[in-house]
Symmetry: C2
Subunit: 428 residues, 2 copies
Amino acid sequence: MSSNTSLDTAAATTFDVVALCQQARIASRQLAQMGEAEKNQLLLAMADALVAATPQILQQNQLDMQNAVANQLAEAMQDRLLLTSERIQSLAAAVRQIASLPDPVGQIRQLAPRPNGIQVGKMRIPLGVIAMIYEARPNVTADAGALCLKSGNAVILRGGREALNSSLAIAKVLQQVLVAHQVNPAAISVLPVPDRDVLLQLLQQEQYVDLVIPRGGEGLIRFVSDNSRIPVIQHYKGICHLFVDKAADFDKALALLLNGKTQRPGVCNALETLLVHADIADTFLPLAGAALQAKNVEIYSCERSLQHLPTAQAAAADQFDTEYLRLAMSVKVVDSFAAAVAHIEQHSSGHTEVICTQDISRAQRFIKQINSAVVMVNASSRFSDGGELGLGAEIGISTSKLHAYGPMGLESLTTEKYIVIGDGQVRA
Amino acid sequence: MSSNTSLDTAAATTFDVVALCQQARIASRQLAQMGEAEKNQLLLAMADALVAATPQILQQNQLDMQNAVANQLAEAMQDRLLLTSERIQSLAAAVRQIASLPDPVGQIRQLAPRPNGIQVGKMRIPLGVIAMIYEARPNVTADAGALCLKSGNAVILRGGREALNSSLAIAKVLQQVLVAHQVNPAAISVLPVPDRDVLLQLLQQEQYVDLVIPRGGEGLIRFVSDNSRIPVIQHYKGICHLFVDKAADFDKALALLLNGKTQRPGVCNALETLLVHADIADTFLPLAGAALQAKNVEIYSCERSLQHLPTAQAAAADQFDTEYLRLAMSVKVVDSFAAAVAHIEQHSSGHTEVICTQDISRAQRFIKQINSAVVMVNASSRFSDGGELGLGAEIGISTSKLHAYGPMGLESLTTEKYIVIGDGQVRA
């Protein structure tokens, strides 16, 4: 985010955030009334249009890449920023996939009569206007646009400034499809001024915007939460635990450990902490240590684990609150099931926790006692995302319990109203 | 709320809000693990204990009543404040009723296998710690305490200062039952210092409190929303509309009109605005006007209605945004179904809207197009509360779409976590 405040302020005064939000609100009314077939038709047309516009999108992406090189952006960030024909193809495929998902809007549940004969039920409806705040990932522009459209919401996209040209190019394609189908193009808009002051203004538009979803690093999410008058989906970090119980199958435990830690260490559902029941510490820890070492995982361990882990370093005081996001891991021996639960309660980020055990009673207790967003028995923490859990696609993840908890799919972009069908009944 | 800031600050420094919230958080872990039978046993014991403690509660209530008289509190407020043996009986009956409701905690839905064999489902869990901010109504202390307990949440109750002695007396009874059953008494606590600074401190405890539910006037709710770092359930006002369509049955329309406006005009689900389709204005409006006049309802009407309503006054510019909360009503003729929807969209508070029509297509369109929290066909707006809609009991009502929308029962005090049961699966 820019620290050049005087420039930001100048830009902010020339761009009318309120008008953008008002237009989105108006568009949201049209979207809320659209049927599933109509929305799918739009999405499929958008997928085709994205592929057809490949040259124009790549041209704008080139501008972003040139700036990225000039500004010496980190290579990993440059890679996320880069679009290719193949990446635009998979972006279009993701939009088609969203078209294929069932539409939650209009679903009615629990319609049942009350004693006086009125029928009461709940009907799922869109939230209205979503603001999506993310980093320099042009693919999120298409993805989030499609998810919001499918769920009947208007969306205001505010991506990282490094990807602005690419995002605007993608949004232009989506808007052209909207206009061609007589849909208000404000249904999907990109904030064209990526300055902090404009973002701050956006976060004040509680009258027009129903929900803010920030996606990115902890700093971004905290900035958005601290400055928003609109409800914010919060997801600070993922400190995921694997508890290897005394009744664990060691082969499964080692597979879950390696997959959770090493398959993709830089993401939030990777493991950060291994807890081992004291009864099996002397047999399991040497196996775990060797397996982790073979994958070049640094180990920071509690005093009791150290004797079983020749390559480990002693864990510092804050080690068990660390999200490494790399090939490193904390290890601790716990005296009991209760001690494992207590450790997780104290250090968990509320994301995902796993128990490895063959004991059904202890598995049930873990599921009951741990209230993180995703609680697993004998499965890899890496399954903790929308696609793997069957949501089809994911708009974000929430680790706070309000409105949504865990990976968020289409249903998380909706709410339920009550519907009442009577025949003239009045209250006595 | 007190404006004596220096006194408030002094009180705030001597009372440790953070410790209270921490204790509530600890108690919430115990509550989350309690089964339905155990919670019901507690609730039934609490109901008995409240009745048994009638003399002590009435004694403390007398102190509040003496202060109320000394401070010349309005009679309506004095009436809400007053407890009697009968009122304590019905308070206990409400607690027993909550014991009889099904416990949402632990319910599992959509448990289904993914292609790789892991089973994925959602399990309902308590939110954690609820802060309830309300006015001088001692009955809310027992009611909210019981609802939070049944849903497995700890609750911090902060009622109006006028009812503080009564609330503390009631909470003491509930806490004695908790202690007698080896449950942490911090599960239900009353903030003993009713000062604004202490409330402000409470609203900053996002680390320990999961949700704030304010119940009361618009000023209280706005103060809480503006000053809270914790998510707040919002419900500002109820401007409920009755649209009498051209296809309406006039007998039903008149019954809904009178019941909605006059059965209890001071509550949020009472009607404030009558919209009448132009095609029936000259036949229906004289009947409506006479019926309202017979019940002494003041009428503020649009220019076109005036000719049909001899007793009406011309509506001022802001009349259609007014929540009267008394025997007064706005009336407007609309040219079409679409005009009725547009008027509601512009002036609705998102609470409850009613259409009176015999035309099934127009009824369906109204249900689809109006996205207030409760949308009704041929039923009185007065049914828009938790009890009437079948929730059993109500902790509040939300007119913002996040987390909960409409009357909130036990389920609104919970969220869902994902549960995953595997047999050693890892991600490819």
